[in-house]
């Protein structure tokens, strides 16, 4: 009575890997019909410097956690190109909404790298001004920030700040695991329906803590976009040039009033999910080694060597400068004062609350009662 033949989805698997690439792991340039970059040598060296620096600062933070100076740390190791490529693609007027791992983007936004360390040390929950810095506070609840980014982008459109090169664009960062959250899918809907100037930047680092991509999807994530009415692209997230080119194109597309796009930056979380995690329980060393060979920093170094625009002196200098920044960072972390206990009661409400003020006073009186005394 009805045709028997199966209607199973196309054989594409979540792991198939054709993506936009402009720089191979060996540091060779390749061309792409849609995307290109024309950086001059200084700009290329600048990108290399960014990559080395964010990796170094990240390693320092991991070390600080090991030594008990941070409560926890979410390392970006392996995702430097995805973050520097997209972070440098942002224009000054663009707004970014990060997760808790975008230390590289934060660095590109020119924010003091000490900031996230305060959060992970536990002295505060995010000290920077998100509006002044055009970089949102870290969001820990998976996916929540994608709706904030979409609403912000709706506001940009209401302000009439789209349509030209000076238009404003918004970028929302999230992970592969986040694509399963209702909020992320709802943000796709709102962005599409209101044609908001936003780029959804998914760093597919292959894992949500211990869960491999296959627990979130059986087709490539970039394909999610089309059913919501906008375009999706997969880029080699370990290729800083391709990530830059694709992100820049998507941001410009948005700022010119052409609405949202989804970018899947195909990359790998080289380290643990956080310093609390033990990846040996759920993934094999050989997999990590495979990705080691695709290292995002090494391939840029090879490019600079290949094109004769970076010599050992330069590389040594970059390492040295990064080391100095890292040491400075460490010293400042160690010098971070603990917050005054009464800060518990600060900033609960913009207009304040008599109840909270009363609790603050009781708190002070209670602690004063111990002065001298000891139980």
């Amino acid at each position: 009575m009805t045709r028997a033949s199966s209607k199973r989805a196309a054989p594409a698997t979540a792991a198939d890997t054709d993506f936009v690439q402009l720089l191979t792991p060996d540091g060779e340039r390749v061309t792409h019909p849609d995307y290109s970059v024309d950086f001059n040598p200084d700009e290329l060296r600048g990108l290399y410097r960014d990559l080395v620096t964010v990796r170094k600062l990240d390693a320092e933070a991991t070390a600080l956690q090991r030594q008990g100076e941070l409560g926890i740390w979410a390392s970006l190791l392996g995702q430097e190109a995805a973050q520097v490529g997209s972070g440098r693609a942002l224009r000054e007027q663009d707004m970014a909404f990060p997760t808790y791992r975008e230390h590289g983007v934060l660095y590109c936004r020119g924010i003091d790298p000490i900031m996230p360390l305060g959060l992970f040390r536990g002295v505060d929950q995010g000290g920077w001004d998100p509006i002044a810095n055009k970089f949102g506070i870290y969001t820990i609840v998976i996916g929540a920030q994608t709706l904030h980014a979409t609403g912000y982008a709706m506001g940009v459109a209401k302000d009439g700040k789209v349509g030209g090169d000076d238009g404003e664009a918004v970028i929302a960062y999230f992970g592969d695991g986040a694509t399963s959250q209702g909020d992320v899918n709802e943000s796709f809907i709102f962005a599409s329906v209101y044609n908001a100037p936003i780029v959804f930047f998914c760093q597919n680092n292959q894992y949500a803590i211990s869960e491999p991509l296959q627990r979130q999807t059986r087709v490539p994530l970039y394909q999610r976009a089309s059913g919501f009415g906008f375009h999706g692209v997969r880029v080699d997230g370990n290729d800083v040039l391709a990530t830059y080119a694709v992100t820049r194109a998507a941001l410009d597309n948005a700022r010119h009033g052409n609405g949202p796009m989804l970018i899947e930056a195909y990359t790998y979380r080289m380290g643990a999910h956080t310093t609390s995690d033990d990846p040996t329980r759920y993934r094999v060393a050989s997999e990590v080694e495979e990705w080691q060979a695709k290292d995002p920093v090494a391939r840029v170094r090879k490019l600079l060597e290949r094109e004769g625009i970076g010599d050992d002196a330069f590389f040594a200098e970059v390492d040295q400068e990064a080391k100095v920044e890292a040491v400075k960072l460490r010293e400042r972390v160690l010098a971070m004062p603990d917050p005054d206990p009464t800060q518990i009661f600060d900033h609960v409400y913009p207009n304040g609350s008599a109840e909270v003020d009363e609790e603050r006073e009781q708190f002070k009186a209670y602690h004063a009662s111990f002065e001298g005394a000891h139980r």
Binding site: D124, Q125, G126, G127, W128, D129, P130, I131, G136, I137, V141, A144, T146, L147, H148, A149, T150, G151, Y152, A153, M154, G155, V156, K158, D159, G182, D183, E186, S187, I189, F190, V193, D346, H347, V348, Y349, P350, N351, S353, A354, E355, V356
Partner: protein, 325 residues
Amino acid sequence: MTETLTLGKALNLGLRRAMEDDPKVVLMGEDIGKLGGVFRITDGLQKDFGEDRVIDTPLAESGIVGTAVGLALRGYRPVVEIQFDGFVYPAYDQIVCQVAKMHYRSKGKVRLPMVIRIPFGGGIGAVEHHSESPEAYFAHTAGLKVVACSNPADAYWMIQQAIASDDPIIFLEPKRRYWEKGEVSRDSATIDLHTAKVVREGTDATVLAYGPMVRTALDAATAAEEDGRSLEVIDLRTLSPLDMEPVYASVRKTGRAVVVHEAPGNLGLGSELAARITEQCFYSLEAPVLRVTGYDTPYPAARLEEEYLPDLDRVLDGVDRTFGW
């Protein structure tokens, strides 16, 4: 000069005035545009202020509140309409984790001047999820302020005060009272948003109510008068933070208190009020603070709601019991 308005119309005029006063005020919600909302509270506003300021949204509450947060970050003052109390829960995560905490998280650098309007409570013969009283879920959440209006004059002014406030505010509207009329003066607000109000003076016992139950409490007070009992009725108006001084003053005077609300008693506002009153008025109390509330069951089918909801008789019964001690 004053005029007679229904509570719903007063809200509509209050929203209109807030939009006239501040171009950054935008309304968001399901069916609030051409339809004017299922209760017509936004009637005519999209026509006059345009689709850019009165936004019909996709059918997704988390999306509505989450994008409202983003609009607030961009400098707007979003006023969200949740269509019915029972449909706020998909947005609960955004409300509790983001709306309530972003100011704190950012050490005060970020403000989210948002109002989330929720028609709440029962008594309209509706199907499931359309008659709930979720106020405790929000009042227990630090970082949110929660208010409930009970009459047209308060509706008109409180909605404007809530929109003008930089605090994120859950604004509860007693849906079954939308059609009740009252005198409204549109000259100026006479009382702050976060204050309770003695709406009837009395000497024998204090009845605490808010939203839809204020009318019920007042009716009970009138009936009690015939039995020669003088009840003082307080309209709490602000549920978080609570404005307790007028409450304490009243209970110290009367020595007896009954709290009335539609929400289930267990962990309802009545429990917090009873705990605080007992702590502050311990030696003035002639009897424990009693609670007259919805029962600790899900909201029942419409043909049972009259039995479920506190009414005049149950309030009087509660008062009687405080005199039984």
